[in-house]
Point group: C2
Chain length 356, copies 2
Amino acid sequence: MARTIKLALIPGDGIGPEVVTEAVKVLDAVTAGSDIEFAKTHFSLGATRYLETGDVLTDDDLAAISAHDVILLGAVGGVPGDPRLANANIERGLLLKLRFSLDHYVNLRPTTIYPGVPSPLASHGDVDFVVVREGTEGPYVGNGGAIRGGTPHEIANEVSVNTAFGVERVVRFAFAAASARRKKLTLVHKTNVLTFAGGLWKRLVDEVGATFPEVDVDYLHVDAATIFLVTDPARFDVIVTDNLFGDILTDLAGAISGGIGLAASGNINPDGTYPSMFEPVHGSAPDIAGQQKADPTAAILSVAMLLDHLQLTDAATRVRDAVVADIATRTDSSRTTSQIGDAIASALAAPALTQT
Amino acid sequence: MARTIKLALIPGDGIGPEVVTEAVKVLDAVTAGSDIEFAKTHFSLGATRYLETGDVLTDDDLAAISAHDVILLGAVGGVPGDPRLANANIERGLLLKLRFSLDHYVNLRPTTIYPGVPSPLASHGDVDFVVVREGTEGPYVGNGGAIRGGTPHEIANEVSVNTAFGVERVVRFAFAAASARRKKLTLVHKTNVLTFAGGLWKRLVDEVGATFPEVDVDYLHVDAATIFLVTDPARFDVIVTDNLFGDILTDLAGAISGGIGLAASGNINPDGTYPSMFEPVHGSAPDIAGQQKADPTAAILSVAMLLDHLQLTDAATRVRDAVVADIATRTDSSRTTSQIGDAIASALAAPALTQT
Ligand SMILES: CC(C)[C@H](C(=O)O)[C@@H](O)C(=O)O
Ligand SMILES: CC(C)[C@H](C(=O)O)[C@@H](O)C(=O)O
């Protein structure tokens, strides 16, 4: 019973196309010979496309992407300070527009310190946690504004919007994740200062938590959470937090786990109404684009998350195992982007040596 | 020509009184025999006072504190989750009220990795930077609100307010600081998402920067800044940022420099209209209060900042040197709070052994 999965590919800008090429190579390798087929559509979106056509993301683009089962994105964003991009905000107009339009209310970002990866931390225990970052609310809603712009009397406001509906559903997802893992959930917020938003998060963690009695609940202010991420990251299992705090904590988490080159993420719509989107946490790094210097590992691990999401658990595990094995033996730091992809893909393609 | 300086002491809660006792001991030691006299007034404020009287900070308290030249604060805040404090927000009602009422628009937080202090980072260069955190605006203004509270339809908003007036003055202070240091300023914000507030900060950094041509200007998104704080903290000289990002970055900075037990800060009103306030970055740590386990170093380094602010530069340098010497020889981790204070105070009291 063959299964065809419609995959939208958004390679994007900078190193995006290079890492997506390797991720697709690995996806093809892990599904080769199986009855799963990925029907791929390429979408040319990002700063490059904007500079060519003036479009960031049209309604037609969005409708076409929505008609897919799942999305793999590389990275978007042009050269910082490029004057031709001054009036475009690729991040808001493309990446955030996708997350918001496709109701990606769970931004899932796992952190593991893999054996063999040098962490900037002098010591750390077994680090294996996941940040469940809210993806459709908070300070990211774009409900700001300014008056008297450009004058000495300018006032610029940003509004963080938090709804019981939006917080409850992501908190519930986080509790379910914790229940399936080591049964510990840490809410990160800043309840002592952001009393309204913080109060709402706290209330819903208490309420939803009552239905998950097996999960231990902890709370940390966001400032204190950054301390523990460098002094005791092994204490975390599931962190649930708002859109902005999640953005900050997951870059820090990427750094302590040996670099943002390994950090994968999923923008998930758990209801299945819209396609979920998987992407490396890193950006487009225009300074090294086209030079085969980028590490495709984060994009390949994003493929593992994509397979997990499609409940192709066995394939996901094989990809992850191949990555872990590759990482553990990384001595040659001069490998190109495609050499790393080739190594991981061929480990998957090799016939199993052991039989049961 | 004797000089009397009116000092308001707010020891606060938890370990606050213990660390302030040592800080005052050091202040007395460094001024002993000089013509500087500190006339001290104790203010009993914090969770303890609230539980006794129901008051957090009265208008009379505020007026009395304002009549002083300078303030030294220990830490405020009760036991987390204490139900008797459920309706009081000591942080907003006391600490933030002082910062806002006394127009402490510069929250100055230096970070140094002192010789002999074990950092959680496996390697780091010469780390010596200062965060200039805005203190009177941003998401800290308390302009949030909620509707349908406690229901499944609750909406809780927080408003970040940013004014050209408020941003310009703190940016100007930061450029002056950079100009007097290594001439590098890094703006940290999230301009790609918080486009209105970020745009205002960016514009004013550009405008004020034009009058400081000797200062190199850099920009980092807040998420990327956390990465560099753990992978390359030596790159920073002066960081200027908003109230919330500054809160987060300075706890992380405290952690990488060997712990929040060493991090000092100044809440400064550079205009001199109101007294400035110096305080350790750490909290009240009720779990170890009254046990002589707290490290008073951050409070003592806050005294050095206080002396600097009063242009008692020589005394400030002596305190800082005594702290650095003490830190460099810390082998006995069992010293009590007062033993550490005694050691530093007596190093200051000792007659100089070398003469010129
Ligand atoms: C590019 C930017 C808008 C984005 C974010 O802030 O979410 C990025 O930092 C991320 O974490 O995916
Ligand atoms: C206690 C709290 C209100 C305060 C802040 O958020 O500013 C603290 O974290 C700090 O950094 O001084």
